[in-house]
């Protein structure tokens, strides 16, 4: 599933020659340099690399939470800024970032509420989303009563509230324990299959990237750039479930990404191997 340059209408995200330089007091830091990446509708793409490789910066540029110093980014054929103003994407961060004074249902309703969706439609949609993430019984609970994994499910439901065709996720499972993490990965696979949204997923976990993604974008630091892009996923006709974790193609994917990560920096780098 190698999406190449296509007409804008059939592209979810198109990143062309993008660089981001952060000025510092004395010199400057090149967080990203000459990044080209095209993501097709419905495609799941992970960004992986060691700290400082610019993977989060790239996601923030796509979300228009930051602006590139060079190059262009288009989201569904629009500028990144216009896509943000049009609410074209949903976003989730490493911290669930729920509002502690709002109930779970009201937290999920937040984007609908600030975008003036009427009350009945809101209520209906929140019920759907609660069911999708399996938290119907917790609608009236508050964030402090939920575990970290449950809070992250709420954050994902909130990101999906407006049925975006693009989901941006910045290490959403980074703070979760390994067991919860694998369960959340399986849930995310199910949810994205249901919604058909394209996903840009930042992670520092190789197995997580290989398990979830159609393509794994391997990045390296100083300056942040794309080393290579690895196609992943089960063999034709296979499904992305627990059997995929045991399959040879999964191990092969992990090896490929690992070698790129280690080779890309010229020497072994501190990649978390989980």
């Amino acid at each position: 599933m190698t999406a190449t340059q296509e007409a804008p209408t059939t592209t979810a995200v198109s990143v062309t020659g993008v660089g981001r330089v952060f000025p510092t007091r004395k010199s400057s830091v090149t967080a990203l340099q000459a990044v080209d990446l095209t993501i097709a509708p419905g495609e799941f793409v992970s960004l992986i690399g060691p700290s400082g490789c610019g993977k989060s910066t790239l996601l923030r540029l796509i979300a228009d939470l930051d602006s590139p110093t060079s190059g262009t980014i288009s989201v569904f054929g629009k500028t990144a800024r216009q896509a943000r103003l049009d609410h074209d994407y949903g976003i989730a961060f490493q911290q669930a970032g729920l509002l502690p004074w709002r109930s779970i249902a009201d937290n999920i309703a937040l984007p609908l509420e600030v975008h003036k969706v009427d009350r009945t439609a809101r209520k209906h949609r929140v019920e759907e989303l609660l069911e999708m993430v399996g938290l119907t019984d917790f609608a009236k609970s508050y964030p402090d009563q939920l575990s970290g994994g449950m809070q992250q499910r709420v954050a994902i439901a909130r990101a999906l509230a407006e049925s975006p065709r693009l989901l941006l996720m910045d290490e959403p499972f980074g703070a979760l324990d390994e067991i919860t993490r694998e369960r959340m990965q399986s849930e995310l696979i199910r949810i994205t299959k249901e919604t058909g949204a394209a996903v840009v997923f930042v992670t520092h976990s190789i197995p997580e990237a290989v398990f979830l993604s159609d393509r794994v974008v391997v990045m390296s630091p100083r300056p942040g750039r794309i080393v290579d892009i690895v196609a992943a996923g089960p063999e034709a006709g296979g499904v992305r479930d627990e059997s995929y974790r045991d399959a040879a193609v999964f191990s092969a994917g992990i090896s490929a990404v690992r070698h790129l990560l280690h080779g890309g920096a010229g020497q072994p780098v501190g990649v978390e191997d989980r």
């Binding site: 976003i91 961060f93 600030v114 939920l146």
Partner: protein, 256 residues
């Protein structure tokens, strides 16, 4: 050292037990050593006076309490409006900083006579103002701090939603500050009572608790004076518990 929290019954019972023991010792000492009333009346004597003069003590307590309550409300209002302005406009915050610092160290004893001269000494205006000043400072400082506590992740989220500034303020900034506001009110509540009470010593209508204590003490009715002290303790506790309950309520989901 810390062996974990005490069970609830012990948390409640232990200070009560200590209080009973202390009052009992006081009573024993007062009756055994025949301590004169002007030095320290016995608890039973104070209680009798409190009981017999209950309507007078209550009236004085309500009078002082009403001053303290008005001061609390005005001080909270001024503190919140000031914090909103200070949060919105950095120059205001910086200009106000030394004034706030000055207000926080003003002795009530210095303000009382001055304000009594400024406003008609027959009214409670100066007492309410003194209580309000005492409340304004902690409310202003805590609310201002609360407004700055918006988490980066919440700010990013609202930017991703491309909401207007007013929507961001209503959905994130103000609710974030509310628990801090009530911390300020909790700190300010007993200070309002103390200030309203102390301000009575500097003139004005002779109907407050401090007036009653002074009048009774100077006419040799020591136990009755102590009954007034008891009334002011109760008043201070009522305000404290009120502020504490509000703070707890508005902080109930802050563990996340």
């Amino acid at each position: 050292m810390n062996r974990g929290p005490l069970p609830l019954w012990a948390t409640i019972a232990s200070p009560i037990a200590l209080g009973i023991v202390l009052v009992a010792l006081w009573q024993l000492w007062a009756s055994a050593a025949d301590v004169p009333d002007y030095f320290l009346p016995s608890p039973s004597h104070i209680w009798t006076q409190f009981h017999e003069n209950f309507s007078l003590v209550l009236k004085a307590t309500l009078h002082t309490g009403w001053n303290a309550l008005r001061g609390l409300l005005i001080g909270t209002l001024v503190g919140v409006v000031g914090a909103l302005l200070g949060n919105a406009l950095r120059p205001i915050r910086q200009m106000a900083a030394p004034i706030v610092l000055a207000a926080s160290v003003i002795p009530i004893a210095a303000l009382g006579p001055v304000l009594n001269e400024m406003f008609n000494a027959n009214f409670n205006t100066s007492r309410v103002i003194i209580a309000a000043i005492a409340v304004t400072v902690p409310v202003y400082i805590n609310t201002l701090r609360g407004l700055a506590q918006v988490k980066p992740v919440h700010r990013e989220l609202m930017r991703a939603y491309s909401t207007k500034a007013v929507t961001t303020a209503r959905t994130v900034t103000l609710p974030t500050a509310v628990p801090y506001l009530f911390t300020g009110i909790r700190i300010g509540s007993p200070m309002a009572v103390i200030s309203a009470l102390v301000a009575e010593f500097f003139g004005g209508p002779l109907t407050g608790l401090a007036n009653q204590v002074t009048a009774n003490a100077s006419s040799g009715r020591y136990a009755a004076a102590w009954a007034g002290v008891l009334g002011s303790i109760v008043l201070g506790l009522v305000f404290y518990v009120f502020g504490y309950a509000l703070e707890r309520w508005f902080n109930r989901h802050q563990a996340a």
